[in-house]
């Protein structure tokens, strides 16, 4: 194959190389930085102390998502003073440094990774960073998007660049047709289960194959979102007609001639035939099923039809101890069928599964049913726009009638920095991305599932195989 063949990642990377100094990392230009209240205050403070400015405020946007309460009353008066200070600090910093800010009650507010694509700010071929590991979400549109630490946030604010060593490339192709009841979330849970939580460390993953191509934009975002859970630096999917249809007419998308020109440029981005990847993995879509995580790491997943694994079967001592510890924390006994595990809470939302399509899918399952009497379930739209659209379609009514709580947008119980948390020992079916110890509240037990599986679990009171669900709607 010709040496000219390049991967999607390489094309985007090359277009952003400012300089490659001898013996130093490449200086990479960053097209867009997304900011939120938790990882930015120290970065702005650093600028202030050093007397520096924001180099390109037109290449930044900020919103509040992690801390904001998800009830209307809670948002009017934020009781948690430290959270309120953090939000006020971002507001002030954005005003001082001229950064566009979507405040608590703005129509654009939402989880950064939901609003970027929704506003058409995220676009193919861009480099995008945010002080948040799930920045990988934006790769679904063919951008190179990755999470960074606060010192790097400051670096980008000051210089619009980042020194970066070039990551390796990893192509994961999912080929074939997804079986009924199997979602984008199941694809990524299966991948992480297979390659492990450090399986893609140091790599940018390109998801490819007919099953990925067939996904909607929302589904692609779900897959790319959890790349970081496999240790990847970023996840990417080549832009195509689905991407362009999604972006057309969005607020910050180009229009008119500029749109045609953009599509021409974006169409050059997909990986060339014959381009080489450092690693490749092919997955047969037909083998995938609905999954449930049973442990305290996103790699600890199993098919819904299976049982809690037995630590005794672990290949070595360290792994056995790890499994035992996870089962103890999760309050599970080896051998219990996953369908017999009963739950207390359900959380539908987050940057993984808090988009319109996710809510539609969950509502379809919930419609005509009632949430189990021993379960408390909440739906938290990923953004104001998602919420408004869902309400115009009557999804809020479907959820409310079934007994779900319908909330205001934010990260909510994905990480429980706001009042939405699990009590110790509570077990939750969650559409979020992390099941770490204490992630949703100290002592809380998180099981990662798709929105459909979460909705069905809310109604049944325990996990169920969505493939056997009777849809009433």
């Amino acid at each position: 194959m010709s040496t000219e063949s390049k991967t999607l990642f390489e094309k985007v990377w090359q277009q952003h190389v400012v300089v490659e100094p001898q013996g130093e990392p490449t200086l990479l230009y960053i097209d867009l930085q997304l900011l939120h209240e938790v990882t930015s205050p120290q970065a702005f403070e650093g600028l202030r102390v050093a007397g520096r400015k924001v180099r390109r405020s037109d290449r930044c946007i900020a919103t509040v998502d992690h801390n904001v309460p998800t009830t209307i009353a809670g948002r009017l008066h934020i009781i948690d003073q430290i959270a309120a200070t953090q939000i006020a600090t971002l507001r002030q910093n954005c005003a001082e440094f001229g950064v566009e800010f979507y405040d608590v009650n703005s129509h654009e507010q939402g989880i950064v990774h939901v609003i970027g694509p929704e506003l058409g700010i995220t676009k193919p071929g861009m480099t995008i960073v945010c002080g948040d590991s799930h920045t990988s979400t934006h790769g679904a549109l063919g951008a190179l998007a990755f999470g960074i630490g606060t010192s790097e946030v400051e670096h980008v604010l000051a210089t619009q660049t980042l020194p970066q060593s070039k990551p390796k490339t990893f192509r994961i192709a999912v080929e074939g047709e997804l079986p009924r009841g199997v979602t984008a979330k199941d694809i990524i849970l299966a991948i992480i289960g297979q390659i492990g939580t450090d399986g893609a460390t140091g790599c940018v993953v390109e998801y490819a194959g007919s099953a990925i191509r067939a996904l909607s934009m929302e589904g692609r975002m779900t897959v790319c979102n959890m790349s970081i859970e496999a240790g990847a630096r970023a996840g990417m999917i080549a832009p195509d007609a689905i991407t362009f249809a999604y972006l057309k007419g969005r607020r910050f998308s180009p229009a008119g001639d500029a749109w045609d020109q953009a599509v021409t440029e974006w169409s050059k981005l997909p990986t060339d035939p014959g381009a080489k990847f450092d690693r490749e993995l092919i997955i047969d879509a037909a083998t995938l099923v609905p999954y449930v995580s049973w442990g305290t790491s996103p790699g600890m997943v199993a098919p819904i039809t299976s049982s809690v694994p037995d630590p005794a079967a672990a290949p070595n001592e360290q792994e056995r101890k790890g499994l035992e510890r996870a089962l103890e924390y999760m309050g599970l006994t080896a051998g219990t069928p996953l369908e017999d595990v009963s739950i207390d809470r359900v959380f539908i939302g987050s940057c993984t599964n808090g988009r319109l399509e996710d809510l539609r899918a969950a509502a379809r399952i919930a419609s005509g049913y009632k949430v189990s009497t021993h379960v408390s379930a909440m739906v938290v739209p990923g953004s104001q726009a998602v919420k408004a659209q869902a309400e115009s379609e009557g999804l809020d009514r479907v959820f409310r009638e079934a007994g779900f709580d319908w909330r205001e947008p934010g990260c909510s119980m994905c990480l429980g920095m706001n009042p939405d948390i699990l009590a110790p020992g509570e077990r939750c079916a969650s559409t979020s991305n992390r099941n770490f110890e204490g992630r949703q509240g100290r002592g809380g037990r998180t099981h990662l599932v798709s929105p459909e599986m979460a909705a069905a679990a809310a109604i049944a009171g325990h996990f169920v195989d969505i493939r056997n669900w009777e849809v009433k709607a």
């Binding site: 277009q15 952003h16 400012v18 300089v19 013996g23 130093e24 990392p25 230009y29 097209d31 990882t39 403070e45 050093a50 520096r52 037109d58 290449r59 930044c60 801390n67 948690d80 430290i82 200070t85 953090q86 058409g120 676009k123 861009m126 948040d132 590991s133 999470g147 960074i148 630490g149 606060t150 010192s151 670096h155 000051a158 210089t159 619009q160 660049t161 020194p163 990551p167 939580t197 450090d198 460390t201 970081i228 240790g231 630096r233 910050f252 180009p254 500029a258 020109q261 953009a262 440029e265 790491s297 360290q318 790890g322 990480l415 429980g416 110790p424 992390r434 770490f436 110890e437 204490g438």
Partner: protein
């Protein structure tokens, strides 16, 4: 950032794989707007029980490891969230070096920015060090960034890889933004040209 050359210090064993940053610094401490003062919250949910009292079973509560500046951990250390607070907390608590078979990518750069040296050794070497730190009283290690070695006084001697530029920055304690600004003229030229690519503009309207 404090320069780092060589450190000889007490080593504490954290014999767990996939320690995530949610454990290193739980979310309830991410609401602060300062960069300092996170040491008390390091591994908070492991160090303290639900009532807030120290859990004697957790290794960093063991008086034997008081004052440790080197942490030995299992593979994929500091995976998960990008929170730099994890590096701040480790640093604030007194850790200047972490030894593990592998580290998560984002933490790798966060640690570097905060003067924490990360030494990647093999699984076998780390297992040996964990064993030594658990069994030998006042077990001291020497991490030399200059020589890229981890040694003890019992004959353990391992080398680790470090990117030459990162090494230079750590040894000199250099500010990254300052380093980037050496290329400001090149950046200005690049940016002016890059701005012509309308399809890469964040806000087209």
């Amino acid at each position: 950032m404090e320069p780092f050359r060589t450190l000889t210090a007490l080593a504490a064993p954290l014999d767990r794989a996939n320690v995530d940053t949610d454990q290193i610094i739980p979310k309830q401490f991410l609401k602060r707007i300062e960069r300092t003062g996170y040491g008390d919250f390091l591994f908070f949910d492991w160090r303290r029980n639900a009532a807030g009292d120290p859990d004697p079973a957790f290794v960093l509560n063991d008086p034997r490891y008081k004052g440790a500046q080197i942490l030995i951990a299992g593979k994929n250390f500091a995976c998960g969230s990008s929170r730099e607070h994890a590096a701040w907390a480790l640093n604030d608590f007194g850790f200047r070096a972490v030894i593990a078979p592998t580290f998560a990518d984002i933490f790798f750069s966060n640690a570097g920015k905060n003067g924490i040296v990360l030494a990647r050794l093999t699984e076998e070497q780390v297992a040996q060090l964990l064993h030594n730190a658990k069994t030998l009283p006042n077990y001291q290690l020497t991490v030399s960034l200059e020589d890229q070695t981890v040694t003890d006084s019992f004959g353990f001697n391992a080398t680790f890889e470090v990117d030459p530029f990162r090494k230079f920055c750590l040894i000199e304690g250099l500010d990254d933004i300052g380093l980037t600004l050496r290329h400001e003229a090149t950046l200005d030229t690049f940016e002016a040209k890059h701005d012509q690519a309308g399809w890469l503009k964040a806000k087209a309207s």
